[in-house]
C-alpha cells in the first residue's frame, strides 16, 4: 500500500492539460487516471477515442476496480463505474434504438441543485435511465442525474446495489433534500407505479402526482423545479394486461402482459424501438416562497398541479410533433 488517500500530490487536470498532443505517436499517460480521479477519459469528451485510448482506459479502469482505487459518495454513487460501464451500456439504447432527441437542455442549470420532474411510463423505468443519459451526454455541463427510486428497487438483488452505484437513492424527503442541498441534479417520477404500470390505453395521461413530497423538498431547499416531458417510453412495452396472481407471488406491483411478453419469452423483453423526445421545460423557481412554505399544503398542491399541467400540455404538443411512433 504505497498510495494512501492523502498521498499522490499530482493533480489529474494538470496531467491532462500538460500532456503533449501528438495525434500520431501519442504516448498515453498510464497514470492519467489516478485514484483521486474518478472520471476516466470518456468517449463523450472531445474526439472519438482511438483503440489505444480505449485500451488504456479499459486497463486503467480494471486496475482501479481490482485495487479498490475509486471513490463513492455517501449515497453509494460510483462515478467511475457509471461513466466507464453503466453509461456506455445505455448509450446504444439511447442513440440507436430509441434515437432520443433531447430538447430544452438549456433549461437545466449548469451547476447547483435542481429537481427534474417527469412523467413515468413503460413498465420498466427506462425513461429515468434515458433521461440520465441525456443530461450526462448532451447537456453542456455533463451532469449526473441522481434518480429517486421506489423502495422495491432496493429490495432487489443485483439491481438494488447497482442502482445505488448509478446514483439512485430512495424516494424520500430526507434523501431528496440532502441531495438538493448538496447542489445535485435530482430526478423524480412522482406518478410512481400508477404511471409506469398504467395500461397502454391510458398512454400519455398523467396520473396523480404522489402526495406532492417533491414540491416540499424543492421548497425547503429553494431549488428550481424543471418539468420534463418524455414521449416514446409508453410504446416500449405496451402494457395490455396484467397477471395479478403472479405479481402477488413475486411481491411485485404488477407483471405486465405486452403484445410480445410473455408470448415470445425472453425475446418479448426487448423494448419496441419507439422514437423518443425528452423536453425539459422552463424551470419553476421556488426560492421566493422561502423554506417555511413547504408547510403550506395549499401552495404545495398548487405548485404540484402547475408542474403536472405543464408536463401534460407539453406531452400533447410533442405527440403532435412526432408524426410516427417508430419512425419519428
Amino acid at each position: 500500500m504505497t498510495a494512501g488517500p492523502t498521498g499522490g500530490g499530482h493533480t489529474v487536470g494538470g496531467d491532462d492539460a500538460g500532456a503533449p498532443h501528438f495525434p500520431d505517436a501519442r504516448v498515453i499517460p498510464l497514470r492519467a487516471a489516478t485514484p483521486q480521479d474518478p472520471t476516466p477519459p470518456g468517449p463523450i469528451s472531445g474526439q472519438p477515442p482511438t483503440t489505444d485510448d480505449a485500451l488504456a482506459a479499459a486497463l486503467a479502469f480494471l486496475r482501479r476496480r481490482l485495487s479498490g482505487d475509486y471513490t463513492v459518495d455517501e449515497f453509494g454513487f460510483d462515478p467511475d463505474l457509471t461513466e466507464s460501464v453503466l453509461l456506455p451500456l445505455l448509450r446504444p439504447l439511447y442513440r440507436t434504438w430509441f434515437r432520443v432527441e433531447p430538447l430544452g437542455l438549456q433549461h437545466v442549470p449548469d451547476d447547483g441543485g435542481a429537481l427534474v420532474v417527469a412523467n413515468h411510463s413503460g413498465a420498466i423505468p427506462l425513461d429515468a435511465l434515458m433521461t440520465s443519459v441525456a443530461l450526462h451526454d448532451d447537456h453542456p455541463a455533463h451532469r449526473h442525474l441522481r434518480l429517486l427510486g421506489a423502495d422495491l428497487l432496493f429490495r432487489l438483488p443485483v439491481v438494488g446495489p447497482l442502482s445505488r452505484k448509478h446514483g439512485t437513492t430512495l424516494a424520500c424527503t430526507a434523501d431528496a433534500e440532502r441531495l438538493l442541498g448538496a447542489g445535485e441534479l435530482v430526478g423524480v417520477w412522482p406518478e410512481g407505479y400508477k404511471g409506469i404500470g398504467k395500461p397502454f390505453a391510458d398512454r400519455y395521461k398523467l396520473q396523480r402526482f404522489g402526495r406532492g413530497g417533491f414540491v416540499s423538498a424543492a421548497l425547503r431547499t429553494g431549488t428550481p423545479i424543471v418539468p420534463c416531458s418524455i414521449v416514446g417510453a409508453e410504446e416500449t412495452y405496451p402494457k395490455i394486461g396484467d397477471i395479478p396472481p403472479l405479481a402477488r407471488l413475486l411481491n411485485l406491483p404488477y407483471v405486465p402482459v405486452t403484445p410480445t411478453f410473455p408470448l415470445l419469452g425472453p425475446l418479448g423483453a426487448v423494448p419496441l424501438p419507439s422514437k423518443w423526445l425528452i423536453e425539459f421545460g422552463e424551470p419553476i423557481s421556488t426560492v421566493e416562497y422561502g423554506p417555511d412554505a413547504a408547510d403550506d399544503p395549499m401552495l404545495v398542491f398548487n405548485l404540484a398541479d402547475q408542474v403536472r399541467e405543464t408536463i401534460q400540455l407539453t406531452l400533447y404538443r410533442l405527440l403532435g410533433r412526432r408524426r410516427h411512433t417508430f419512425r419519428g
Binding site: 485500451l55 485495487s67 479498490g68 463513492v72 446495489p161 430526507a174 440532502r178
Partner: protein
C-alpha cells in the same frame, strides 16, 4: 465541571481499557475505576497505570456498592462488544442489556453520579430498504430485528432514556459509533477480512462508514472531560463499498448465492476461517451511513481519519498481505497494455498491404 472519580466498564477490551489508560494520565482526575468480568491482558494492564481494576460483573448488585463507596461522579459505559459473534447471541444480550440495567439502577441510587456516557452503535438505525441513505440522530428505525446486536443496542439506549427521565440532574451522552477499524482494535469487520478469501453475498454490496480507533478514543475522552449531553453519531468522513474494502485489503471476494450464505458461513467458521457471515455486517452497525454534523458543531470534534484512511491504516497496521497488491496490478496493467498495443500495431501494419498488393498483382 471536570470529573473527579470516573468509572469505566468493559476495561479488558480495547475501547474501555485504552480510555481508562488515557483518563488515568490526566492529573485532574482523582480516581479512575475500571470494571470488567475478566482481567485485561498484561500489556493493556501496564498501560492503564493507576487505574483501579475492579473485577466484577455489572449484572451483580455488588456494582452499586462500588459506585456508592467510591463516590463515582462519571460513568462511562462501554456496553457493546465490538465483535458480537453469531452463536453467543443470547449470552451477549444477557451481558449487555442486564448489565446496563443493573449499572443504571446503581447509578440512579447514587447521588454522587453527575454524568453518564454510553458507548452505542449506529446499528440502532436498523437496516431496511425503506431507510434514507443517511441517518441523522433523529431518524427512527424502520425495521429493527426482534433480537440480536442492534436490538440490544436499542434496548440499552431505551433504558438510558428512562434513567435520564428519573434523574434529570444527570447529564447523559449517547455516542453512536460507526464500525471501528484500526491497527489494534478487534472487531467484526477486522475478523471478517482476516482470511485471504472472504465470502460475500452474490448481487449485494453495502456502503461502509467506519471510524478509526484513535478517533473513537478521542471522542470518548472529550465527552468525559467536558460536559456534552445528547445523542450523537460518531463516524469518519466518506464511504467505502464493502466490495471496494475487500479489494483494498487485497482479499478475494467469494460471491455466495443468498440462500447458501448461512450454510457457507457455518462451514467456514467450522473450518476456522473467518467467523462471520457477511449478511450480518449490515445489522452490526457497519452498513449504516450517518450524518455527523452534530458531532462537528455541537460536540466540536472532527475525526482525523476519513473512512478510507482509517481502513488503509488498518490494512497497514495488520500487515495484511494482499494476494495482488497495487504495485503488481499496475505492473500487470503496463504489461498488458504494451502487449496488446504491440499486437494491435503489428496488425495495423500488416492490414493495409494485402488489398493493395492484391490489386497490383
Amino acid at each position: 465541571m471536570a470529573p473527579s472519580v470516573v468509572l469505566v466498564t468493559g476495561v479488558s477490551r480495547f475501547l474501555g481499557g485504552n480510555l481508562a489508560a488515557r483518563l488515568a494520565a490526566e492529573p485532574a482526575i482523582e480516581r479512575v475505576l475500571g470494571v470488567d468480568t475478566v482481567a485485561p491482558v498484561p500489556d493493556l494492564r501496564r498501560r492503564m497505570g493507576r487505574v483501579e481494576f475492579v473485577r466484577a460483573d455489572i449484572r451483580n448488585p455488588l456494582i452499586a456498592k462500588v459506585v456508592a463507596r467510591a463516590g463515582v461522579d462519571t460513568i462511562v459505559h462501554v456496553a457493546l462488544s465490538p465483535h458480537p459473534s453469531g452463536a453467543g447471541g443470547a449470552a451477549a444480550t444477557e451481558m449487555a442489556v442486564l448489565g446496563t440495567m443493573q449499572l443504571l439502577a446503581a447509578a440512579q441510587n447514587a447521588p454522587s453520579v453527575r454524568r453518564v456516557v454510553l458507548e452505542s452503535t449506529t446499528a440502532v438505525y436498523g437496516a431496511s430498504p425503506l431507510d434514507p441513505a443517511v441517518f441523522d440522530e433523529t431518524t427512527a428505525p424502520n425495521d429493527l430485528p426482534t433480537r440480536g446486536y442492534a436490538r440490544d443496542a436499542a434496548d440499552i439506549e431505551g433504558y438510558l432514556r428512562g434513567f435520564a427521565r428519573r434523574r434529570a440532574d444527570v447529564s447523559v451522552t449517547v455516542l453512536r459509533f460507526a464500525g471501528l477499524v484500526g491497527p489494534r482494535v478487534d472487531t467484526v469487520l477486522t475478523r471478517y477480512l482476516a482470511p485471504p478469501v472472504v465470502p460475500t453475498v452474490l448481487g449485494d454490496d453495502s456502503r461502509l462508514q467506519l471510524l478509526h480507533e484513535e478517533d473513537a478514543l478521542g471522542v470518548l475522552e472529550r465527552v468525559v472531560s467536558r460536559e456534552l449531553p445528547g445523542v450523537v453519531n460518531v463516524a469518519a468522513d466518506g464511504v467505502l463499498m464493502l466490495s471496494q474494502a475487500i479489494r483494498r485489503a487485497g482479499r478475494v471476494p467469494l460471491p455466495v448465492p443468498p440462500p447458501a450464505v448461512a450454510t457457507v458461513g457455518r462451514l467456514l467458521s467450522a473450518a476456522g476461517v473467518g467467523a462471520f457471515a457477511p449478511e450480518r455486517l449490515r445489522l452490526l452497525g457497519i452498513g449504516q451511513v450517518v450524518d455527523t454534523t452534530r458531532l462537528r458543531t455541537a460536540f466540536g470534534f472532527t475525526p482525523r481519519w476519513t473512512t478510507v484512511q482509517a481502513f488503509d491504516d488498518f490494512v497497514r497496521g495488520r500487515a495484511l498481505r494482499p494476494l495482488l497488491g497495487p504495485g503488481q496490478l499496475a505492473a500487470a496493467e503496463r504489461l498488458t497494455d504494451r502487449g496488446v498495443r504491440g499486437v494491435l500495431h503489428a496488425l495495423a501494419d500488416v492490414a493495409p498491404h494485402p488489398p493493395s498488393s492484391g490489386r497490383s498483382a
